[in-house]
Symmetry: C2
C-alpha cells in the first residue's frame, strides 16, 4: 500500500514510456497515490513526463502536478498550451491553482486565467493571487461550506451535498450571520448526531479561532500547532468569512521555515537543496565563507602582533586551534538552546538577565572541567608551567565568553527582529574565534611575564 | 481571542491566588483554552498551581494538565493522591492517559490504574502502556468509531451518537469485516450526504492507509506528511483495527525529532531546553566539547611537529585560525545540505558518487574565490611570497577536502543507520580542523623549500 520508488521500477517505467506501451504504464501506476506519481514525474525528463501525464486521469494528473518539485513542474507546464494549463487548474482547489499560476511567467498568467471554464473558479483564483505572499490570504482556499445561523440541520446537509464536488476535504461547516460575518462553527460530528429539524443557532459552537487575510503565515502555523487545529477559517477586515486554511498547507510552510532556519544556522544564505545547480549552491554559501575569512584575517592580525612572542615561545602556536574550536563549539551550543527556546516561545516571558546567568553557570561548570583536563594533559606532556597555565586560564575564559556571546547575540538579534538562527553558526563561531585568540595571547603575555 | 500571557497578567493572577479570590480567578480564566491555562500553570509554583487546578472544571483541568511541561506536570501530580490522579485520567483520551501514567513513578502506576472508575478506560490504558515507545502503538488512542460493512448509514450514525462522549475529534469512521479486520473508511462528509438506508459496503472507500502497532513513529510521521492525512488507523499483526493516530500527536513527535536534530547538529547530546537545570544542561554539552578538545590536542601535536619551522617563520602561525575556520564552515555547509536531503528523502534514490562530485564542484568554485581573495590580500599586506602561496594553496585544498568530508561523512553515517545530524557540527568541524592544519603545514614546508 505504501509505495517506495526504486531505480528498477523507474527503469521499467522509462522503457514502457519509450515503447509508448500505455497498458503496462497504467498497470504500473494502478495502485499509486498522486504524491507517488509526482515522485516519478520528478525523475523523468520532460518528454517522458509529458507522455506519462497525458495518460493520467484528470483529477490524478492535477493532484500529481501539485506534488511535483517546483522546477520540474515549471518545466512540464512549459510544454503545455495556456489552454491546457487552464484545464489543469480547473481540477484544483483555488489555493493550489493560485499557487501554480503565480509560478507561471507573468505574461501568460492572464491568458491562462481567461481559459478557465468555471467562471467562479477563475474569479476565486484571481482573488487569491492578489494576496501578499507570507499571509493567511495567500495560504487559504476559497472552497468551504458556510450556513446561516437561522437555517436547519437539513438545509445545512443539502448545502454540503451541493458543495461536495468543490470541497475535497471537509472537517466542519462555518456559521455566519446575515452579513456573512463568521460567528461560529459546527463539526460534522455534531451535525450528524443532531436532529434534522434543529436550528443551526441552537447547536453551533460560537467558540471559533480565526485569522485575518493579513495575518502572517508564521502566526497561522503557531495557532494551528498551539490549538491542535486541522482547519482555520479566514476572515476579511470586516470579519466576513472568506476562506479556510487546512493543516497540510501550513505544515508545508512550517517545514520550509524549519529547513531555512537549519540552513541559516549552517551558514547557507539561500534556500537551496542538493538538486540545485552548482552555481546556486556556490552562491548561497560564499557570503558566510567570506565572513569567516574576514574573521580569519582579523585573527591573523591579532596573532601577528605577537610575532616576537611566538618566535620566543613557538609552543604558544600549538594550542591556537584548541582555543578557537572550543570557543566555537561552546558558542554554537549556547545559541542553539536560545534559538530553540525563542522558536518554541518558551522564552517569551523571560527577561534576558536570568538566561545569561544560567548560561554563564553552564559555562563555569564546563569551563572548569575542560580547563582542568587540559591542565592535566599539559603538565603531563609539556614541561612548560607557563604554557600549561596559559592554555588553561585562556580556555576557561574563552568558554565563559563564548557562553555569554552565544546567549546574548541571538537574544539581542531577536529583540531587533533579526532571525536569531543567523546567529547560530558562522557568526557566533567567527566572533568567538577572534575573541578566543585575543584572550589566549593576552593571557599568554601576562602569565609568561609572571611565571 | 488569541491569548498572550503577560507578566502583568501573571502577577494579578498570583495575587488573586494568594487572596484565594476564586471569583476573580474564574473571571480571569473565563475565555482561555486549555493550552493557555497550561502556560499559566507552568509559571506558577506548585501550591499556586494546585489551588488554580482545583478551580478548573474537570474537562478543562485534564486538558490543561496534558498541555503542561512534563516536569511541571510531574510536580503538580506529586501533590495528588493516586485516587485524584485516576480521576484526571478518566477525563482524558486513552493515549494521553497512558502517556501521563507512564510518567508516574512505577510503584504507584498500578494503584492509579486500579482507581480508574471506567473499567474500559482502565483496560485501554493498560493495553496502550504495553507498547514500546517510539512505535505507532504508543502513539495511538483506542477511541474510534468502527462499523461493519453490512450495516446501514442509520446504524452507523447511531453508533457515532453512542460514542460521541468518548471520541472528542472525529474525521472518519472505519469499516471492518466480521473478523474486525480493517477494510476501509468512510468520511463523515460521505456519511452525511448518503441515503440513511444505504449500506456501508456500497459507499465506503476501500483505499485506506494504515500502520501496524509496531510501525516506528518516524514512519508514521512520514506517511501522515506525505499523504496529507489528519488521522491514521492502526491495526495489529492480524490486520484488526485497534486504534487511531491523529495528526496533532504526530506533529508533537515530529517537532521533538526536529529539535533533537538541531541539537545534535549543535553538539548537544541530550534533549534539553533552556529551562532545564544547570547540571543537565552542562552534562548534555560536555561530550562534544571533549571531542572538540581531543581534536584540539591532536592539532597541537601536529603543529608541535613543525616547531622549528614556526620559530623560523612565525608568520605561518598567523593563518592557523583562518584555515581551521574556513574548513569548519565549508564542512558544516556541505553536511547541512546532505542531512536535509536525507531527512526529506529527496536523496534516497541517488547514488553517493554524483553527490560527491557536485559538492566537489561547489568546493572548487568557492575554493577558487576564497583562495584568490586571500592571495590578493597577502600579496598586498605581507611581503612574503612563500606565505601568500602557502595560505592560498592550503586554503583551496582544505575547502575541497572539507566539501568531500561534509558530504561523505553524513552519507556514510546514514548508510550505517547512524543519525547523520550527528555529523553536522562538532564532528565534521573537529575533523576538518585537524585535516586543515595538517594540510596547511605540509603545504608550507613544501612551498617554503621551493619558493
Amino acid at each position: 500500500m505504501q509505495f517506495e520508488l526504486s531505480l528498477e521500477y523507474l527503469e521499467e517505467l522509462k522503457e514502457a514510456i519509450a515503447r509508448k506501451d500505455e497498458a503496462t504504464i497504467k498497470a504500473q501506476l494502478e495502485e499509486l497515490y498522486a504524491v507517488d506519481i509526482a515522485l516519478i514525474l520528478n525523475r523523468l525528463d520532460v518528454e517522458e513526463a509529458n507522455f506519462l501525464y497525458d495518460i493520467l486521469d484528470d483529477e490524478m494528473a492535477a493532484d500529481a502536478l501539485l506534488e511535483m518539485e517546483e522546477e520540474k513542474r515549471e518545466a512540464l507546464l512549459a510544454t503545455f498550451s495556456t489552454k491546457e494549463i487552464a484545464e489543469q487548474l480547473d481540477n484544483m482547489e483555488s489555493d493550489d491553482a493560485a499557487d501554480v499560476i503565480n509560478e507561471l511567467p507573468e505574461e501568460i498568467q492572464e491568458e491562462v486565467l481567461s481559459h478557465i471554464e468555471d467562471i467562479e473558479q477563475a474569479s476565486d483564483i484571481a482573488d487569491l493571487m492578489s494576496f501578499e505572499e507570507g499571509t493567511a490570504g495567500s495560504l487559504m482556499a476559497k472552497e468551504l461550506v458556510s450556513v446561516y445561523a437561522h437555517e436547519t440541520v437539513t438545509a445545512c446537509i443539502d448545502e454540503i451535498r451541493r458543495q461536495t464536488e468543490n470541497v475535497d476535504v471537509m472537517y466542519a461547516v462555518y456559521v455566519v450571520d446575515d452579513n456573512e460575518k463568521l460567528i461560529g462553527m459546527l463539526s460534522l460530528k455534531k451535525l450528524i448526531i443532531s436532529h434534522p429539524l434543529a436550528l443551526i443557532e441552537e447547536i453551533y459552537d460560537p467558540d471559533v479561532i480565526s485569522v485575518k487575510t493579513s495575518t502572517p503565515s508564521e502566526d497561522v502555523g503557531e495557532l494551528i500547532q498551539k490549538y491542535d487545529l486541522v482547519v482555520l477559517p479566514v476572515v476579511d477586515q470586516l470579519g466576513r468569512l472568506v476562506g479556510r486554511i487546512t493543516i497540510d498547507d501550513v505544515m508545508d510552510v512550517m517545514r520550509e521555515e524549519a529547513e531555512k532556519d537549519i540552513q541559516l544556522m549552517s551558514g547557507i544564505t539561500d534556500d537551496v537543496d542538493s538538486n540545485d545547480s552548482l552555481w546556486r549552491l556556490s552562491r548561497a554559501r560564499i557570503p558566510w565563507l567570506l565572513v569567516g575569512m574576514g574573521g580569519g584575517i582579523i585573527g591573523s592580525r591579532i596573532i601577528g602582533s605577537y610575532e616576537q612572542q611566538i618566535q620566543l615561545r613557538p609552543e604558544m602556536a600549538f594550542f591556537i586551534p584548541l582555543i578557537g574550536a572550543t570557543g566555537g563549539n561552546v558558542g554554537v551550543q549556547s545559541s542553539a538552546i536560545i534559538v530553540q527556546g525563542l522558536a518554541s516561545n518558551t522564552l517569551v516571558l523571560d527577561r534576558i538577565a536570568p538566561k545569561l546567568f544560567k548560561e554563564l553557570g553552564v559555562g563555569l561548570i564546563n569551563g572548569m572541567i575542560c580547563s582542568g583536563l587540559i591542565l592535566g594533559y599539559n603538565l603531563l606532556i609539556n614541561e612548560s608551567w607557563a604554557l600549561a597555565a596559559t592554555v588553561s586560564v585562556a580556555l576557561f575564559t574563552v568558554i565563559l565568553c563564548a557562553s555569554f556571546l552565544g546567549t546574548f547575540v541571538p537574544l539581542t538579534m531577536h529583540r531587533f527582529k533579526v532571525n536569531p538562527a543567523l546567529a547560530t553558526g558562522p557568526f557566533v563561531t567567527t566572533l568567538n574565534d577572534i575573541i578566543g585568540i585575543s584572550i589566549y595571547f593576552l593571557v599568554g603575555r601576562l602569565l609568561y611575564n609572571v611565571l
